[in-house]
């Protein structure tokens, strides 16, 4: 449908264009001055300054494995996270806990637990699905490496990043 484009009637001040140029120049000069005096503070010098302290509680960074307060690995190698992982970044090789072990009644533990951080999309589904609260998304976001092999986090690396989780497990927590 054709329609008439409205042509506004410009005043002479708008027509000679110079006042609006000067107004625009003043606006940019104001920004320049505020930046020069440090009044505007919007830029962060990344490697030296970080936003980490402002990160929200629910931030989803790199997935990690945790141990409980007794030093037992919480993961029981049920492989639910491996199955739910949308990009299939998780590979678990389960093994039976030997009978002489202190935690023999837990029955299973992961022999190998690998997360390919090139594939991981930080969706947090592994954390959500885990019945034992063994896998958590931490706040590490700068996961870098120079080779593909380096980007695959193995069990040792995952526990190193995760550390110890103490406190009530969510499924036994009446408040959650």
């Amino acid at each position: 449908m054709a329609y008439v484009v409205p042509r506004p009637n410009l005043t002479w001040k708008e027509k000679i264009y110079l006042p609006s140029i000067i107004a625009g120049l003043m606006t940019t000069l104001k920004h320049f001055r505020k930046m020069l005096t440090g009044e505007t503070k919007v830029v962060m010098q990344y490697p030296e300054e970080k936003w980490d302290s402002h990160m929200p509680e629910h931030y989803r960074g790199a997935p990690t494995l945790v141990k409980d307060t007794h030093g037992r690995e919480r993961c029981v190698a049920c492989q639910l996270c491996e199955f739910i992982c949308p990009p299939r970044a998780i590979t678990i090789k389960p093994e039976e806990i030997p009978a002489e072990s202190k935690w023999a009644k837990v029955e299973k533990r992961p022999q190998e637990f690998e997360i390919d951080m090139i594939r991981c999309i930080y969706c947090g589904m592994c954390e959500e699905v885990c019945p034992e609260q063994a896998i958590f998304l931490r706040k590490d976001y700068a996961i870098t490496g120079t080779t593909r092999e380096e980007m695959v986090h193995d069990k040792q690396k995952l526990y190193e990043l995760g550390g110890v989780f103490d406190g009530l497990v969510h499924k036994w927590n009446p408040l959650k």
Partner: protein, 375 residues
């Protein structure tokens, strides 16, 4: 013919070479590279960013743990840029017209440097006039050489044998030809007032009678000076607008408007050839600012500061004052670029032919009338 064998000639040649080396290699080319840097920093700060503020050697590439950062802030950036341009692959597309393709960057760079020869960038230093070639038709010489600059762009556009550079070249030729008229005409009132085309004489006039744009700088303000203030102001505005158009700066950067023409006339250029266009543009900016300073801001003159006859120190101060004024104008160039949007091409032509040209023409008669009635 005895002039040829005389020691005067050798003195003249030696002095000219020394002044050329000083002007080009010690002042203008460093100034060009730092104008590029200033452009990046100022644009960044206008947009509430920081711009390039750290430069160093990527020693991690050689296996070291940390990069070596220079404690200069971002001031090493122009050097890094120059190294990058020299080391990049110089790619020449197969379909270009090779001789003209090679000639174009030179033609873009050379005229803007040659223009600087006629500009008096200081009073005197050790008894030597601080101008490479003190010719009595200085302004005409500058306009003549500056108009050669359009060939570089047109040749680049045509030799690239590709549609976007071609369009850029065509736009550039029509734009520069249109605005050269306005540029020449808006300089005429200055010639009328100063009564000379030699840039040294124009500067001398302003030293004696106050700068054209600030006639009170000589300490007194007569009635005729107040009247002449009006045409000087009009001439300054039209001249500066035309200067923006001549140097292809925003809001008149139609030849390289990247939203429409990729990069305009230098789309097909890479490495140092591209850098030459870039340097040519910024050298033209410096030459243009220097010309505006000479015509309207009293050249090297600053009230209460003696000229070079009072000692070599004051000669140096005069040179510094001149390039300080040029730097201030360069800041205005950058400031305007990051404020105004680009004109449409028909608006550009309309401004050039229907407004600037007429205003400059009327301004000549206004100046002549005022001069006829007051002197």
């Amino acid at each position: 013919m005895d002039f040829l064998g005389s020691p005067d000639l050798w003195m003249l040649i030696a002095a000219s070479v020394a002044k050329t080396i000083f002007l080009i290699f010690l002042v203008v080319l460093p100034m060009v590279s730092y104008t590029v840097y200033a452009e990046r920093r100022v644009s960044a700060m206008i947009q509430d960013r920081l711009g390039p503020n750290r430069v160093g050697f990527p020693t991690t590439l050689l296996g070291f743990k940390k990069d070596l950062e220079l404690p200069l802030g971002g001031l090493g950036q122009p050097i890094a840029d120059a190294l990058k341009f020299l080391l990049k692959e110089d790619f020449v597309p197969a379909h270009v017209n090779k001789p003209y393709f090679w000639l174009a960057p030179c033609l873009a760079m050379v005229p803007s440097i040659v223009v600087l020869a006629a500009i008096p960038f200081g009073s005197t230093f050790l008894g030597e006039k601080m101008v490479v070639a003190d010719i009595n038709v200085g302004l005409l010489f500058i306009f003549a050489i500056a108009s050669v600059g359009v060939y570089g762009i047109v040749l680049a556009g045509w030799a690239s044998n590709s549609k976007y550079p071609f369009l850029g070249g065509i736009r550039s030729s029509s734009q520069m030809i249109s605005y050269e008229l306005g540029l020449g005409l808006s300089a005429v009132p200055v010639l009328l007032i100063a009564g000379a085309t030699s840039l040294t004489k124009i500067t001398d006039y302003q030293v004696a009678n106050g700068w054209l744009l600030f006639p009170f700088t000589d300490g007194k303000l007569s009635g005729s000076e107040v009247l002449l203030w009006i045409p000087a102001l009009i001439a300054f505005i039209t001249f500066t607008v035309c200067m923006f158009a001549e140097t292809n700066r925003l809001p008149f950067d139609l030849p390289e408007s990247e939203t429409e023409l990729v990069a305009g006339y230098h789309t097909e250029y890479s490495s140092m050839k591209f850098a030459l266009f870039f340097l040519g543009e910024y050298t033209a900016m410096i030459a243009g600012s220097a010309l505006v300073v000479v015509l309207f801001f009293g050249g090297w003159h600053l009230p209460f500061i003696p000229d070079g006859s009072a000692g070599w120190f004051w000669g140096l101060v005069n040179i510094t004052v001149f390039f300080g004024k040029v730097a201030a104008l360069l800041f205005v160039f950058i400031w305007v670029r990051w404020t105004l949007p680009r004109f449409r091409f028909d608006q550009l032509m309309k401004i050039g032919w229907l407004y600037i040209f007429e205003i400059a023409l009327v301004n000549i008669f206004l100046t002549a009338g005022i001069l006829a009635f007051t002197k």
